[in-house]
Amino acid sequence: MKEMHYDAAIIGGGVIGSAIARELARYDMKICVADREEDVCSGTSKANSAIVHAGFDAYPGSLKAKFNLEGNRMMEELSKELDFSFIKNGSLVLCFSEEDRKGLEELYEKGVQNGVEGLSILSGDEVRKMEPNVTEQVVGALYAPTGGIVCPFGLTIALAENACDNGVEFLLNTEVTGIEKTSEGYDLTTNEGIIHATYVINAAGVYADEFHNMVSEEKLTIIPRKGDYLLLDKEAGTHVSHTIFQLPGKMGKGVLVTPTVHGNLLAGPTASDVESKEDVSTTAGELSDILTKAAFGVKNIPFRQVITSFSGLRAHEVGNDFVIGEVKDAPGFFDAAGIESPGLTSAPAIGVYVAELVAEKTGAKKKADFNPIRKGIIDTRKLTLEERSKLIKEDPRYGTIICRCEGVSEGEIVDSITRTLGAVSLDGIKRRVRAGMGRCQAGFCGPKTMEILARETGRDIEDICKNRPGSNMLEKEEGGAANERA
C-alpha cells in the first residue's frame, strides 16, 4: 500500500476544495487534494445555476449571508487574476401578485441588512422596459445590480490550476473511504493508498456528512437535493439579459431564467430531495416543470432550441446553513460542508476563510513565491483577425477548427490537455474549452476530439472515456488481423 504524507489533505476537488487549495497554497505547506473522479469540477460544481448571487436571499447573520457577500465582492478581481469568465449582468426577482409584494419588500430588507448594494424595487412596467420578455403578470421586481453570472467550470478549474501551479498536488481517481484519528493527525484510506495528513479539510460536497461523521460525534446530515436544468442554444441567449428569479409565492418556488457567460440561455433548477447521492438523472416530470414555471415569468422562451438537459445535486444540510470551521471534537479536521446555493458565489470567500483558519492552527508562514496569476486557455473567438492570424502562423493548430458549433480549434483542445491539471476525458475537454458543448453536442467533433486526446496522452482511442473510468466511448476489439492499426 502506497503511503503519502501531507501537512494538509483536502477531500474534494470541487469549487470549494479548489478554492481552499488555492488559498492554502499561499502558505508554506505540503498540501494535497483527493478526489474520486478523474478530473476536478466533477460533482455539484459542474451542474448548477452558474450564478454569482447578490446576497439578498440568505438569512441575515448566517454564514450563507456572510460568505455570499464576500464572495460576490471578490469575484470580479478574481476573474481577472485567474482568467475565467464572469459577467455582472444584474438580477431581478419577479413578483407576480399584489399579495406577494410584501415578500418582495422583505427580500429587499434582508438584502439591505446583508449589505447588498444598489438594491431597488421596480414596477412591472419598469421591469418590462429592462426585460421586454418578462410577462404581463409581473407586478414588480427586486433589482440587484451586483448579481452576476460565472462559468462554474472556468472558476473551479482556474482555482485548481493555480493551486497546482503553486505546489498543491491533485490526487485524482482517489476515493477516500475511511478516516482515522492518529497521534499526528489523520489517516485517510483511499483506493490509491494511505494519506497521512496533519490536517484534513472536508470539502466533499454531498458526501461531506459521511467524512465528518467518521471523526465526530456531532453528526451532520446532508440531503442530496436534485435540480434539473435545460440549456438552450446561443440563438436564444439574448432572450433575457439579466438573471431572472421568481419570488416564491402561490405558484411555488419557481425557477430562474438566465443567460450564461457563454451566451446560452439556462432555465431551472427544479428541487427534489433524492435518496441517492449518485442520482443525477433527469426526470420527464421535472423537465416539463421547468417549461411551465419558467413561462410564468418570461414569455416566448424558445424551448424548441433546448440543446441539452442536465441535473445536479445540492448538498443541503438539515441545519439549513453552511457548516464551516474546525470540528469541535476532532481537532485539525475542518469542515466546509452543506455548501449549497450560494456556494459557488461564496467559494472564493470560503477558500480564504478556511485557509486562514488552517494556517493559523499550523502556524505556517506565507510563501514569498506564491503566484496568484493564472493564464487561461486562449479564447480565439475573442481575438481580432490580425491577432488570430498571427497565432495561427506561430501554431497552425489554432487554424484547424475541431468543434464547429463553438468554433474551438485544435490548438485550444491541445492546450486543455497538456496544461497544468489537463483534461483526461472528453467531459474534461468540454468543460475547459467547450468542444462538444454546442448545438450538435459533439456529434461532429466527438470523434476528432477523441483522436486528439488519445494522441496527446499516448493512449489508444478505445481507452478514451467520457468522464470517469468505465465510461469508455468505444469497445475494445478482440485481437486478430482486423485489430492491426494502419
Binding site: I307, T308, I401, E462
Partner: protein, 420 residues
C-alpha cells in the same frame, strides 16, 4: 481583399454539383470551401448502396456517387480549399475563413452558394430523461466511427428514431456483429424509406416499435439499459407500458436540422418549418446574390434530388454573376396548405422563371388515396391522385411557365392535399 465570382460554402454533394453547373454556365472564378480534409461530405461515410438511380441510372454507394462529382470538379479544375472553416458571412457577402495555411482571411464574393448541409438532432433536443453516460451516439456519429474509423461503438444496441440513418445503422451494426435489439419510433409511422425498413430491419429480424419512445436511460459510466414506453396519440408515454431493455449503446436517429448559423449571419431569412432559407424559384435567398441548395435548404431523402437542386443553384448564381441583379417583380407566393408541411421554393418570380420549375414538398402525415392539388389564386389547376403519401418521402409538382399565362394577376399558388 481577395475576390471571387462564386464562393460555395460546403464541398459535399450540393456544393460539388453547384460548382460543376456554374462552371458549365461559363463562370471561371469559383471557389469551394470545405471544412473537412476531403471533398464529398457526408457521402463518404454513407457506404451503403442506393444512390444515383435518378442521376446516373445505376445504383451506387455514397463514396462512389461523391467520386463522380469530385471527378467532374477535378476535370473542370474548379479550385477548392480543404480543412477550411467559414466563420462568418456578412451582408456584404464577405466570407471570413480560417485554415492552417492562411490563418484568418476575408474573401469577397459576388455570389454565394450555401451548401453546408445539416446536422443531427442531439439527445438534448429530445429531453430524454435519465443519466448521461457514455454510449449515446447520434446515428451519424456511430456511422463515422464504424465506416470511416473501423471502430466498434457497442455490442448491444437500441436505436431511437427510424430515420434513414438509424435504419442503415441497424443493419450495419448487425453486420459488424452487434445485436440490435429494437428500433423505437415515436410516431405511428417511420420517418425512413420503406425499402430501408425491409432491407435493414426485416431482413435481420430487428423489431420496429412504432409509437414508442425512451423514457429513461440507465447507467452511470456506460449505458446499461433504456426504458421504452408506448405513447398515446399526443405522443405522451402511457404509464404501465414501460419495458426495460439492457443495452450498452443507444443510437439516436431523430431528425436532421439544416445548419444555417452562417445563413443567419448573412442576413438570410429562414423558413420556420424547413429551418432552411426562404428561396424563390432560382433558389436565391432573401439576401441578394446568396443562393441555397441541398440539406441546408431542406432535408432531402435522396441525394439525386440534392444534385438536381444544387445544379439549379449553380446556374442561378452564374446568371447572377453574368447578368447581374434581376429587376425584381412582385413574387407569387407558393403556400403549403392542408396536409402539406412546406414547399421549396416558397415564392416564384414569374417574370424570370425557367420554362418549368419543380416545387418539392413534404406532407404532414401518412395519407392513403389522397389528391395533390395545385391552386392558382383559388382556381384548381392540377389534381393528381396518389396511392400513398408519407412524411418520409419527398414529393414534387412541376409548375410550367405556360400554365401561368392565363393568370396575369396571379398572387398565390397553393399546394395542398385533398381527400377528393
Amino acid at each position: 481583399m481577395r475576390e471571387h465570382d462564386i464562393v460555395i460554402i460546403g464541398g459535399g454533394p450540393a456544393g460539388l454539383a453547384a460548382a460543376v453547373a456554374a462552371r458549365k454556365e461559363g463562370i471561371q472564378d469559383i471557389l469551394i470551401l470545405e471544412r473537412d480534409g476531403v471533398l464529398g461530405g457526408i457521402l463518404n461515410q454513407c457506404i451503403h448502396n442506393g444512390f444515383g438511380l435518378h442521376t446516373f441510372k445505376e445504383e451506387l454507394t455514397g463514396p462512389e456517387y461523391a467520386a463522380r462529382f469530385i471527378d467532374m470538379v477535378e476535370a473542370e479544375n474548379i479550385p477548392y480549399l480543404l480543412n477550411t472553416m467559414v466563420l462568418d458571412i456578412n451582408k456584404d457577402k464577405e466570407v471570413t475563413i480560417i485554415n492552417r495555411e492562411e490563418g484568418l482571411t476575408v474573401i469577397k464574393a459576388r455570389a454565394i452558394i450555401l451548401a453546408m448541409g445539416c446536422r443531427e438532432r442531439p439527445r438534448g433536443a429530445l429531453n430524454i430523461p435519465g443519466y448521461r453516460p457514455a454510449g449515446i451516439y447520434s446515428a451519424g456519429t456511430a456511422q463515422r466511427f464504424v465506416n470511416m474509423e473501423g471502430k466498434t461503438v457497442g455490442k448491444e444496441v437500441v436505436i431511437l428514431g427510424s430515420g434513414d440513418i438509424g435504419l442503415i445503422m441497424a443493419r450495419r451494426m448487425t453486420l459488424e456483429g452487434a445485436k440490435v435489439k429494437v428500433v423505437a419510433e415515436l410516431m405511428p409511422y417511420s420517418g425512413g424509406l420503406k425499402r430501408n425498413i425491409v432491407q435493414c430491419l426485416d431482413d435481420y429480424g430487428i423489431p420496429l416499435k412504432l409509437s414508442h419512445t425512451i423514457v429513461d436511460i440507465q447507467g452511470k459510466e456506460r449505458v446499461t439499459g433504456v426504458t421504452l414506453a408506448k405513447v398515446d396519440e399526443n405522443r405522451r408515454p402511457i404509464p404501465g407500458t414501460e419495458e426495460t431493455i439492457s443495452c450498452d449503446t443507444l443510437l439516436l436517429s431523430v431528425g436532421l436540422l439544416p445548419e444555417n448559423e452562417l445563413s443567419r449571419s448573412a442576413g438570410v431569412d429562414l423558413n420556420p418549418v424547413t429551418l432552411g432559407p426562404l428561396v424563390d424559384d432560382s433558389l436565391e435567398t432573401s439576401a441578394e446574390g446568396i443562393f441555397a441548395c441541398g440539406n441546408v435548404l431542406h432535408v432531402h431523402d435522396l441525394v439525386d434530388y440534392v444534385s438536381e437542386e444544387a445544379a439549379m443553384a449553380g446556374v442561378s448564381a452564374a446568371s447572377f454573376v453574368t447578368i447581374g441583379q434581376k429587376t425584381r417583380t412582385d413574387f407569387v407566393e407558393i403556400a403549403a396548405e392542408q396536409g402539406v408541411r412546406y414547399t421549396v421554393p416558397q415564392r416564384l418570380d414569374t417574370e424570370h422563371m425557367k420554362d418549368q420549375i419543380t416545387v418539392r414538398f413534404r406532407v404532414a402525415d401518412v395519407y392513403k388515396d389522397r389528391y395533390i392539388s395545385v391552386y392558382y389564386d383559388g382556381e384548381r389547376v392540377s389534381h393528381k391522385k396518389k396511392r400513398v403519401l408519407a412524411p418520409g418521402e419527398m414529393e414534387q409538382v412541376i409548375i410550367k411557365k405556360e400554365s401561368l399565362s392565363e393568370f396575369p394577376e396571379l398572387k398565390k399558388i397553393v399546394i395542398c392535399t385533398e381527400v377528393e
